[in-house]
């Protein structure tokens, strides 16, 4: 009892202490917010030894109303970044890889034209991952659908399963024309990687989106769909968007506006 009393005696109940406690609580509150913010920042620009995290889901919003007729800067940028030969320059156009392709659609009744790039839609429930017999086709923690070329046997089941015709097979040896950051080789299936080498480097953008912005169209917006404060999440909240073949219920990472 005496101990308790002495303790309570020692406790100063001056206004200074109250102010101090108030300040301390405020600081603590600030800290609790700060780590939250930090977490998101770390997830975006993660360090080299940190694995990709499912706290992030990379995605893309394509504004077809801004996509210009005749412009294929996104396709060029993709082929340059990733080292694949575009169809126009290929010796075998029917076998040429198409990580991204430009579509120009026309409504037969109204003649309205729609432009849009089409590529791997980075499905949450990816059919290519379901059908792969070796597990080479996989979805990374941050939502990017990739092919592990070390296990791909080139059977092309995934190409048949893909509703978006997004994948292609490398038919002939590439003879050391690959980019150092983008290994690709004969007998393996490949597709858009959302510029995974750039993401891992911390660039936070894809080659196609950078090119589209540089060309002044800004039709492609890349970002983290899990972060409510990201530009892409904000735009997705505001704009009416569609998933291509939404009936398949694949929960796509690429959303379109204006189609």
């Amino acid at each position: 009892m005496s101990e308790l009393k002495s303790m309570s005696d020692n406790t100063p109940s001056s206004p200074e202490r109250r102010r101090f406690i108030g300040a301390a609580t405020a600081t603590a509150a600030g800290l609790t917010i700060a780590p939250g913010v930090m977490l998101i920042e770390v997830a975006h620009g993660r360090s080299e030894e940190q694995a990709a995290s499912s706290a992030v889901r990379w995605g893309m919003l394509i504004d077809a109303t801004q996509c210009a007729t005749g412009c294929d800067d996104c396709v060029t940028a993709c082929s340059t970044e990733n080292g694949w030969t575009p169809v126009a320059k290929s010796q075998h156009p029917k076998q040429a890889p198409q990580w991204i392709r430009k579509l120009e659609l026309q409504d037969p009744l109204t003649q309205m034209e729609t432009n849009l790039p089409m590529m791997c839609q980075h499905c949450d429930e990816a059919p290519c991952v379901d059908v792969c017999p070796t597990g080479a086709s996989f979805k990374r923690a941050d939502g990017i659908v990739l092919v592990n070329r070390h296990t791909c046997i080139g059977c092309r089941y995934c190409m048949m399963a893909c509703p978006y015709k997004a994948r292609s097979l490398v038919h002939e040896p590439l003879n050391d024309t690959q980019k150092a950051d983008v290994p690709r080789g004969v007998g393996c299936v490949e597709a858009c990687t959302l510029c995974v080498q750039k993401i891992d480097r911390g660039d936070g953008n894809t080659a196609c989106a950078e090119a589209c912005t540089a060309a002044g169209h800004s039709a492609l917006l890349f970002g983290d769909m899990n972060d409510p404060e990201s530009e892409i999440s904000k735009r997705l909240r505001e704009l009416p968007t569609k998933q291509v073949r939404a009936d398949l219920n694949l929960n796509l990472g690429v959303r379109y506006h204006g189609i």
Partner: protein, 165 residues
């Protein structure tokens, strides 16, 4: 009869062992006109490898295999055991590659050991510039002709030596 057989057998073992030892001993000395030894060129950059040479000679494939799965599946791109960094240091000054010519770093030993490498079916054998020198960034992305020209240019030895770590 059985004793004689045993003695003969023991003699045979002794003779064989001696012959094997003599043969193994001769292996240590450089033989003129023997099997051609691999040429191991010193790396263009850096003083020493990421691990001691002996360890690397026996275990580089294990390190690369481990790293490859981490990189592909999890996106961990640490530089220490990455194939890209091997290439950055070991690409020959002559060919700018680790596997273009017969005596380039990887090929030289692998052809001696008769072990086929399939890394370079998919991976580039040449180093490439850092991101700062990368042909593609937001400002230049739409100049496709410039990019094509730069993408086709060969990497020079100076450029190779200047590749950022």
């Amino acid at each position: 009869m059985a004793g004689k057989m045993k003695r003969l057998l023991a003699l045979g073992v002794v003779v064989l062992t001696t012959a094997a030892l003599a043969w193994a001993g001769s292996e240590d000395q450089p033989k003129a006109g023997g099997a051609p030894k691999p040429t191991i060129t010193k790396a263009v950059k850096g003083e020493h490898c990421v691990e001691p040479n002996d360890y690397m000679r026996r275990n580089h494939m294990k390190l690369l295999m481990h790293q490859r799965d981490e990189t592909v599946l999890e996106g961990v791109r640490t530089k220490k055991y990455s194939l890209k960094e091997c290439i950055n240091c070991h690409a020959s000054e002559k060919t700018g590659s680790v596997a273009a010519a017969k005596d380039d770093f990887c090929v030289s030993c692998h052809s001696y050991a008769a072990v086929k490498i399939d890394c370079f079916d998919c991976h580039s054998t040449k180093p490439q510039g850092s991101m700062a020198m990368h042909p593609l960034n937001a400002e230049t992305a739409h100049y496709s002709h410039q990019l094509a020209a730069r993408a086709n240019s060969k990497v020079s030895a100076e450029e190779m030596a200047g590749v950022a770590q």
